[in-house]
Amino acid sequence: MQNQCAGLEEAFESLGFLSIFFDISCGFVILFNDPFAIMFVVLAAFVGIVFGALPGLTAAAAIAMMLPILIAYNDEIGGLAGLAFLYVIGKSGRYGGSIAAILFNTPGTAASAATMQDGYPMTQSGKAGKALKTATVASVYGDYFGEIVLIFGAVWIAAFTRQFGPPENFAIYLMAFVVIGSVVSDSIIKGIISTLFGAVIGLIGEDIITGQFKMTMGIDELESGMALVPLLIGVFVISEVIIQAEKAAKVKMTEMARDKMDDPTAHYFTWGEFKRCIPLMFRSSIYGSLIGMMPGLGSSVACFVAYGEEKRKSKKKDEWGTGIVEGIAAPESANNAVSGPSMIPLLTLGIPGSTIAAVLIGMFLVNGLQPGPTIFASEPPLFMGGQLISPREFIFGIFAAGLIGIACYALIGYFAAPFIGRAIALLPTQYLYPFIFMTALAASYSSRASIWDVGFALLFGVIGYAMRRTNFSAAAFIIAFVLTSSMEEAFRQSMIISDKGFLVFTSFEYQGKFSYAPIFLMIGAAVVLFRAWTSYRARKTDAT
């Protein structure tokens, strides 16, 4: 594989192109030489849309259920195929949520909640086709924007983060914790409690330095820490099944007002509308990309920020919420623009920017890749599919899969979204959710062949249900859980390195080199203060 890319390298060198163009071209070469990977990209585009469109189920739920299978058969299907599958599901799942939001007035995912504001009124006025096509175009625009940010940004940022050691890593983890805790939820207190709860669960297991076990309660299965798969399945899948059981009612697709569909443009997102939306989609994609780069902030935050900002900027504020294409284009381009950049903290720091990125860490490790500042180093090579490829080539293969995946869900979505919506509306939920429940239990068991993991999944299903009913953040909980072990490791290492105790985190120097740790701590503190101030202002405004 390296040799195939070597030919490309010569061509690009002779043309004097930037190396990044060589990298992404090489990524396409690697992807197209792996038929399994291409097949899985197409499959992921479809699966993600369906899961995203199923009310309540999310891309994270789809990934949680499929992860054990992908890990078990990683060698058979190939590392690139497995990772590409999960990565593309994350993208198409975010898009799929808009189908449910537009047709059922139920956000398929939290990332589509803002899309309902204008999407559902359009459906009610007989313009469901226009709404769905607008969502598709905006999602694709935002996703490509974010992917380009990722492709050009990740290598550059990784070169910078190579300077970071344990104190900087700890400061970044701490910053991520306070940002997640204070921003991801409606309430700062609830967000912080969700984050701390995730951290407590993440502390279970072995002490990194001493090798002693802590908080295992004598359960051998907990000596390696709580496994991510049963936790994900519990929080994202089983809790949703409980909610559906509680509803005990079918979600019915809204009757489309066909008699009102005499407008010939009702099915189409017209060229004029597209041109009108371009500046708005561009700005929303920037919001989404910036939010995606912040660890812990995800699509749901991005869609509301974009919707709110564009509505504020609009000259026709009164029309927002009545069913206009701008009200769909803004949140949809923003929530999909999150996808690519949310990989940046994962690839450059080893810190997941979203729940999907948190799951991807496991898949990277399974394939011999340690996410972090040195992941783009050209060696050592990985052995995959009978070929030697470098980690850099592998990562760009994933990026290429992302680009192809967007095109796949664009085609599926543009031409088949209404049919998928109708098919989902016809699904008998009294059979569907019990089937999902049984699949979830099987997936919990199969990840480690442990009956304990089934118990943990059920336990966290109940906990996840309680969190959702009381508006505690499941995303903050999961990301904090994933980050805690590394944060503890960085803290302990910093303490050993330090001659100044805790001051190593506030000093601009350690080991004779410049430290960025205080900068990250200041950013974290600024975010919390800003959030507290905006909450205070909002309460004050409400009171008056």
């Binding site: 990683n74 060698d75 058979e76 190579r162 300077q163 970071f164 050691g165 344990p166 104190p167 900087e168 297991g205 072995e206 990194i208 330095i209 001493t210 090798g211 051998d220 000596e223 390696s224 990277f364 490790l365 399974v366 394939n367 011999g368 890749l369 340690q370 972090g372 500042p373 040195t374 180093a377 050209s378 060696e379 050592p380 090579p381 990985l382 052995f383 009978g386 030697l388 490791e489 290492q493 050993i496 390195i497 350690y510 080991q511 004779g512 080199k513």
Partner: protein, 325 residues
């Protein structure tokens, strides 16, 4: 009646033996799991992945593949214990270099969770991990003498990283600093790749890690010396500690495949034959070469003898480290 009972018992025993023999003849009948006690990207993981990729090509493996499961923690002991929890049927094996395996056990002292010669069977080795002293390229030292002189002149503790609290690399680090009377403090990381990242970021002043971890990072990392009685064939220009005047570091870590005690003789034979076959494959050699690791075969008997010797060599050193902690 007595006769009939004997016949029934005999037939049952014969059937069981036949079934067992058939099962063994079919070994392996499913993919083999190779546990790795360190995170992805380090020397052990890299070797195990390369080895596993060729497992299905060994005639004694019936075309069955092997897959890797990383379970980092406690310098590889967590994964070792996980192997012992599985059935001794040859479908869960453990790859680690014997130096780190032994150091991990010794570091636990009386709390050791197992005694390797009793709990595990060494099935043979397909490579070796050679420890090296590494510094950042901004460091002025280009050899051991200069490193020691600079360290002593600084008058402070040298902070050094390694792939775990009680690995072969860590043991060699302790021997080195104590031999030269240099005050030092060790920073354990979860695997060689993370220790390397700490050196690249200059968060530690030195690292004791595999020679192979320098590959691809030559702009950032400089190896000053390698362990072993002879120079590492994959880094022939790198002088050994012994050549540079530091005694007591003339051992390397044979990278071996272990099974839990009680593993059937037939499995030992088949896996041993597979190790010999893979170590000789051109593709495997090329892969290992790309990672600056040597591929060579050491049979189970020779590997077990080397293992016993390392217990003798490393035992007193590790005991001293524990006593001084």
């Amino acid at each position: 009646m007595h006769f009939a009972k004997k016949v029934v018992t005999g037939v049952a025993a014969a059937t069981a033996m036949l079934a067992s023999a058939t099962a063994m003849a079919d070994y392996p009948a499913k993919p083999i799991k190779i546990m790795v006690g360190f995170s992805a990207g380090g020397g052990t993981d890299t070797t195990a992945r390369g080895f596993a990729s060729y497992m299905h090509e060994a005639p004694s493996m019936n075309g069955m593949p092997a897959f890797i499961v990383n379970l980092p923690g406690a310098s590889g002991q967590k994964a070792a214990k996980a192997v012992l929890d599985e059935d001794a049927d040859g479908y869960t094996l453990y790859m680690i270099n014997i130096g780190t395996f032994i150091a991990g056990e010794l570091a636990k002292g009386d709390d050791r969770p197992y005694h390797i010669p009793e709990a595990f069977v060494n099935l043979g080795c397909a490579s070796q991990l050679v420890t090296s002293l590494q510094v950042h390229t901004s460091n002025g030292a280009t050899n051991v003498e200069e490193f020691v002189a600079n360290a002593k002149a600084s008058g402070k503790e040298i902070t050094w990283g390694t792939s775990g609290a009680a690995t072969m690399h860590a043991t060699i680090g302790h021997i080195f600093f104590d031999t030269h009377g240099i005050p030092h403090k060790k920073v354990p990381f979860k695997g060689g790749s993370k220790a390397r990242a700490a050196l690249v970021s200059q968060s530690v002043e030195a690292v004791f890690g595999g020679v192979n971890t320098v590959v691809g990072f030559e702009d950032d990392i400089r190896a000053l010396a390698s362990a072993g009685a002879e120079r590492d064939p994959m880094a022939p220009d790198l002088m050994t500690f012994k050549e540079q005047g530091t005694e007591g570091i003339d051992f390397t870590g044979l990278m071996c495949l272990f099974g839990p005690a009680g593993i059937p003789e037939e499995v030992q034979t088949d896996v041993g034959a597979a190790i010999a076959h893979i170590a000789d494959l051109k593709g495997y050699k090329r892969y290992m070469g790309k990672n600056d690791l040597a591929s060579f075969y050491t049979d189970a008997a020779a590997a077990t003898a080397a293992q016993d010797t390392m217990f003798d060599v490393m035992g007193p050193v590790v005991a001293e480290i524990i006593a001084n902690q």
